[in-house]
Amino acid sequence: MAELTYREAVIEGIAQEMRRDNKVVFLGEDIGKAGGVFKATVGLWDEFGDLRVRDTPISEQAILGAAMGAAMTGLRPIAEIMFSDFLAVCWDIVTNQIAKSRYMTGGQVDVPLVIRTANGGGVRFGAQHSQSVENWAMMIPGIKVVVPSTPADVKGLLAAAIRDPDPVIFFEQKALYATKGEVPDGEHVDEIGKAKVVREGDDVTILALALMVPRALEAADRLQAEVGISANVVDIRSLVPLDTQTIIQQVQKTARVVTVEENPRLCGWGAEIVSIIAEECFYDLDMPIVRITTPHIPLSSADELEDEMIPSADRIFETVRREVD
């Protein structure tokens, strides 16, 4: 085991796969010589050079279009979209082209690519550089959606995404880049489509993703210590494919469920999961289902205002304490 930061785990995940498979190539803005605006790709250009690690102009449609063309013809590209907000600029390539080509061509076209992007807020960048848009991706049939919360998951799931024959959008949380965690030594490949129970408990199941996972864990400690509520925290990790079975089991275990979502309220990822629970676990519920989300409002930039909107450990604690009897 080694202790790595979340950003170091990104580098290691990419490097591990690029060393292993010559078909893996990487393109994006400032990712090469500069090591990425979040310093999440430092050292890759030094190791793999100009041929395999390429800086691009500010051309999101070209970046993803070229990634798709290369993937269709035998390479395994990783494309970076610097801020997940910018997916809106190249959304046609994601949804109309990458997601649908295999289906529309009767299975002829392969698109084994990974789009890595820095998602989420908490760093005071304002409304156009702080969004959590994993739910946008979840809604489009034909792309896999992975959202890790720990360095170990970053490395393992990024490796799995690169090896996956289908297109994957890999959402890294920018506020987590500096966080640290234990990562297994040697080759580390995790499994897409598996959620993880990160804290066992009996009284209420909390479903969370990315930045909301450590906040839910912090709230869970307080809930146990201060009011004796034992929270069962689940890190969803993949939105597509979704580990519905684990979610159902964990809901049946406690009969109570709360989601914690950084995305704005309407059609957030929790809305879909909660609808599955309402349909398939209706007779297992001892409490109405509760979603804790950022309100349906653009994010502000000032410290206090942004912290007010994105669910905090305090808000999670208060909500669970109030709802669970």
Partner: protein, 411 residues
Amino acid sequence: MDVIMPQMGETVAEGTLTVWHKKVGDTVSSSDILFEIGTDKVEMEVPAMADGVLAEILVAEGDTVAVGTKLAVIEGTGEAAALSPDAFEPEAPKADPAATPVPVAERPERDRSMKLSPVVRKLLAENNLSHTDVTGTGRDGRIKRGDVLDYMKGGAATVPTAPVPAEAPGAVSAEGITVVPFSYRRKMTAEHMVRSKATSPHVLQAVEVDFSGVNKARQAIGADWKRQEGYSLTFLSFIAKAVCTAIKDFPHINGHIEKDHLVVFDQVNLAIAVDLNFEGLVAPVIRDADLKTVTEIARATNELARRARAGELTPDDMANATYTISNNGSFGTLITAPIINQPQVAILSTDSITKRPMVIEQDGEDLIVIRPVGILAQSFDHRAIDGSYSGAFMRRVKEILEGKNWVESVS
């Protein structure tokens, strides 16, 4: 301020409000006695603990309510310290939670008056319970899932190592006396037994059976069976097979009694009574037992007993029994007069099988031989059949057990 039913003892779950000392509209001060409560142990006067006006009384004198139930509302100016930390919700360290600035449109006011959640409804329905049976310990006295589960278990948390009935919570001990409240299952059994005796005129008939023929088969394959299956091949499966065979000649044994008629079934669904660690009986059913071989019956019996003890029986396992066998053999008893499993016609008890001296006739001479012998006793409902029919059935069962080539049946 809400006035709630305090918890007057660790094991007390409810209390009776015996006397109100104030009425609605009265001004109260925090030290005034507001009401009195009684539990099965104590009676107590309870002060108001707040200054103000008694605005609402929600529970009448003589009512028994759960701990935590809202009894009254005082509209007032000040609040004194809580009576006991457990009785009230802990004060939030920050501002009142209602002030948490979540936009109102996103969190509509939720009505918390007595509502049964889906899981609670499901559990109540599955177990034929009424919500009035169950004490709620959730907010405002709400029945939580755990409350229903606790009620059904009778509160027994551990399986006793020695065969002593588990003591339910709330068992009160005094000098020389222990009161053991009936668990849910005990209550259900009690009701069924009384009802059965009150409905059916029970008559007991017994036969003595020589099990040496059966024993030959048991010895022939017993060791292999034990090794392969993990449990012994007992006499019960053979008895069950004999009963199913005999029923073909005496079909009225295999029926349900309605008010003025007997419903006779072609299908033989044999219920086998299983004891659950002295905590009660269940009788899961082997469907179409007459179509099964001895070994198939043995496996089915074992599986049902396992599921019964693990609490995994499904409603299908319990339904549509047409005849019941109660196996008491392991206790060494001679004979048992079982109580009929309503609405069946009869029930058979098997008791211990022991080596006894028997007289047989051989070549015209009387000989004493040692044989494994046991008594089979059937209680039948005299409304549907008479002693002659039942007796003939029992004779047939004995004939099959003593005469059939059982070694062939199991090979």
